[in-house]
Structure formats: C-alpha cells, structure tokens
Amino acid sequence: MRFLLPVFALAAAALCSPALAQDSAAGASTAGSQAAGLLAASGVKTVVGVSAIPVSMAAAGASGVGAVSTVAGHVGAASGANLSQAAGASANAALKVDDAVVVTADPAPNVPYQAQSPAPRR
C-alpha cells in the first residue's frame, strides 16, 4: 500500500491547483466599502445597495412582468403540463437602468428579499 502514498499526495496537489485557482473568494476583499472606494477613486458613480425589491406593476410597464409575486409558488393543477404552455407571449418593453454602479453591502443580504424560509437540508 505504500506506493499509494505518492499517488494520494500528487493527486491531491494536482487536483487542488486547477480547482482552486480562481477561488479568490474572500469576502473581505470585496466588501462594499472597499469596492465603492475603488470605484469612487476612478470617478465611477457608486452606491451601496441595501435591498432589491420587485418592481411595481406601473414601473414594470405594459408587460406586467414582475407583478406576479403574490401568486408565486403554488402547485399548479397544470403541473407537468406541456412545455409549450411556457413558451411565447409578446415581447417586453425596454426598461430604464440608472447610471450608478451598485455594490453589495457588507455582509451581502441573503436571498430572496425578506420573505424566504430557510432552505431545507436533505
């Protein structure tokens, strides 16, 4: 079994390197204040976002998309229905996006906004 030791060691090293190469995931480096500071120093208009809520019916425009959250999550009688029922419908109107760059407050809020129960653990 000794010959397996270098196998494990090298395998671990080899596997870890590619897997972790881009995982520079430290939250501290992306704290809202730091990001905002970096951007502000470059002249980018920046704000810290504290919440993101559904757009109202009026703001959503004629399509009405975004105003359906109150009926969300039901188990429809059509469960398992043909996929074609989910296709189609008319195109949406163009939307407005503000110029300011929104950065995350630190710590980042969990989703979804305010209303979710904890995720089940299976």
Binding site: R2, L4, P6, V7, F8, L10, A11, A14, L15, A19, A21, Q22, D23, S24, A25, G27, T30, A35, S42, V47, V48, G49, V50, S51, I53, V55, A59, S63, V65, G66, S69, V71, A72, G73, H74, S79, G80, L83, A86, A87, A91, N92, A94, L95, V97, D98, D99, V101, V102, A108, P109, N110, V111, P112, Y113, Q116, S117, P118, A119, P120
Partner: protein
C-alpha cells in the same frame, strides 16, 4: 517499480482531473482580469443590453477560470439570475437596475466549500469574478420570465435549493446541486409549474439533455479526496452536469427562450 506506478497513476489523475472543474460558484469571487472600473463598465453594459431587450429576468453566465482549463464544450463556470428590481441604496435613494440571484459555494471561511447558500448581490459583483471579456446570456421567453420571477419571489425558490454542493452535480439526481443545476431547477419549476424537486428532476430526465463532462475513473475515485466539492457518486455512467450550453439548447428546443447570445465587453 511500485513508486513509479504510483507516479504514473498520479499523473493520470492530474490529467483526468482538469476537465472536472466545470463549475465555479465560489462565494464572491474576484478575478484579476478586470480592474474595478472595467468590471463596473462591463456590468453596466450587460444591464443596459438586458434593459434594451425588456428583460425582467435573464440568466447570465461567466467563467471564473481560464478557458484553457475548461472541459471541451463548456465555456462558462457560474451562472445567476439577473432580475430587474427597484434597488434601495444605503443613502435612502431608489434606483432601477438588476439584482443578481446566485447559488454560491462556500469559500471555506464564511462556510464550508462543499455547501452552498443563496446569495443576492449585484452585477458588479458578478462581473468581477470573470476571467474573460465575455458573458453568455439567456433571455427566457416573456412568459417564462414571468414564471421564473414568480418562483424567485416565492418560498419555492429556497425550497428548490439543496445546499449539498458538488462541482459536477448531476441534474438528473437530487443528491448534490451547483449553481447551474439550481438555475435549471428554477427553470423547471417555472416550466412545469411545480414546487416538487423530485418531480422537476423526473421531468428534466425526460426532457433535458445534460452536458457530458469528460473525466476518467481515477478522477471519480480520487477527486473527493483532493477537493471535497468534486463529488461524483450521484453519477451513473458518464458525468452529467448543467451548463449554459445545455440549458440554452433545452430552452431553445422547447420554445422557452427569447434569445441566447454572448456579449463581449466593449472596452473604452
């Protein structure tokens, strides 16, 4: 000869392991590819593109790894829902723009790497994790946007989340989940109008063809030893996982999308 055999095996594992890193949903990744102002510019470019299309909901994908490290046929490693929202700022103003709904694996500090959480952040945070000048976008059909939004804004969204994370989670099984599998489950919940994860998985098995990841048997054996996120015991036969490529093909085939495209950063 035995040490030599061991070294040969290790080399084989190393080669086999590379393609396995198909996903990268690490918490708040920051790559060095973009400066902060560049990431801000690209994120705003993507937002404006979506807004011009009237997209209330889009699925946006980035790659957090160099393309040379990605398996054949896979170009993006992380995806999230970009949702048009009214955003309240720390100074009390309200803005219009997109919020991003992610499934993030832990960074090993905030929480374990082999567990995930649902985190909402913003386009700038998303783009900062990119290692290339492009993202891929799926704009669902207007009806699907309405349905996906309804799922996101309901308890179903959290119910669909399985926090047990694998980089190559099988979308035809429920044991593990990664960012793309979670997005696919949300799409499935919207398409079939169900909140039952088991039913979604069954429907996906009938209608959705996952991406096959090339990986040898040695990677399956030794992968979990080297990286706890590289779990493949939910796979029977080839390694299957959800990607931008297979999700856009599924949605296109079933008339569930308005557009699928890549968007390149328009560098100033």
């Amino acid at each position: 000869m035995r040490p030599l055999a061991g070294l040969i095996c290790a080399a084989a594992i190393a080669l086999a392991a590379l393609p396995a890193a198909a996903q990268d949903s690490s918490l708040r990744s920051v790559a060095t590819h973009f400066t902060a102002p560049e990431a801000a510019g690209f994120s705003k470019q993507v937002e404006r593109d979506l807004a011009a299309r009237g997209a209330q909901v889009a699925m946006v994908f980035r790659t957090g790894r160099p393309r040379s490290q990605l398996p054949e046929g896979i170009a993006y490693t992380h995806g999230g829902f970009w949702v048009y929202r009214t955003i309240t700022t720390a100074d009390g103003r309200t803005l219009s723009g997109y919020a991003v709904y992610n499934l993030y694996a832990g960074d090993g500090q905030a929480w374990p790497k082999n567990q995930s959480r649902l985190v909402q952040d913003y386009p700038f945070d998303f783009i900062r994790g990119s290692t290339v000048d492009d993202v891929a976008v799926i704009v669902p059909s207007p009806e699907m946007q309405r349905r996906i939004l309804a799922v996101i804004d309901s308890p179903t969204y959290a119910r669909l989340h399985n926090p047990v994370y694998s980089l190559v989670a099988n979308p035809w099984a429920t044991k593990y989940q990664n960012c793309n599998n979670f997005m696919l489950d949300v799409v499935g919940a919207a398409a079939w109008e169900t909140t039952d994860p088991a039913r979604i998985t069954a429907d996906l098995k009938a209608h959705y063809q996952p991406t096959l990841v090339k990986a040898g048997p040695l990677m399956r054996l030794f992968g979990p030893i080297a990286d706890s996120r590289l779990r493949t015991d939910d796979q029977k036969g080839p390694i299957r996982t959800a990607t931008y490529e297979s999700m856009s093909a599924f949605m296109d085939k079933n008339g569930l999308l308005q557009a699928a495209y890549t968007l390149n950063f328009a560098r100033p």
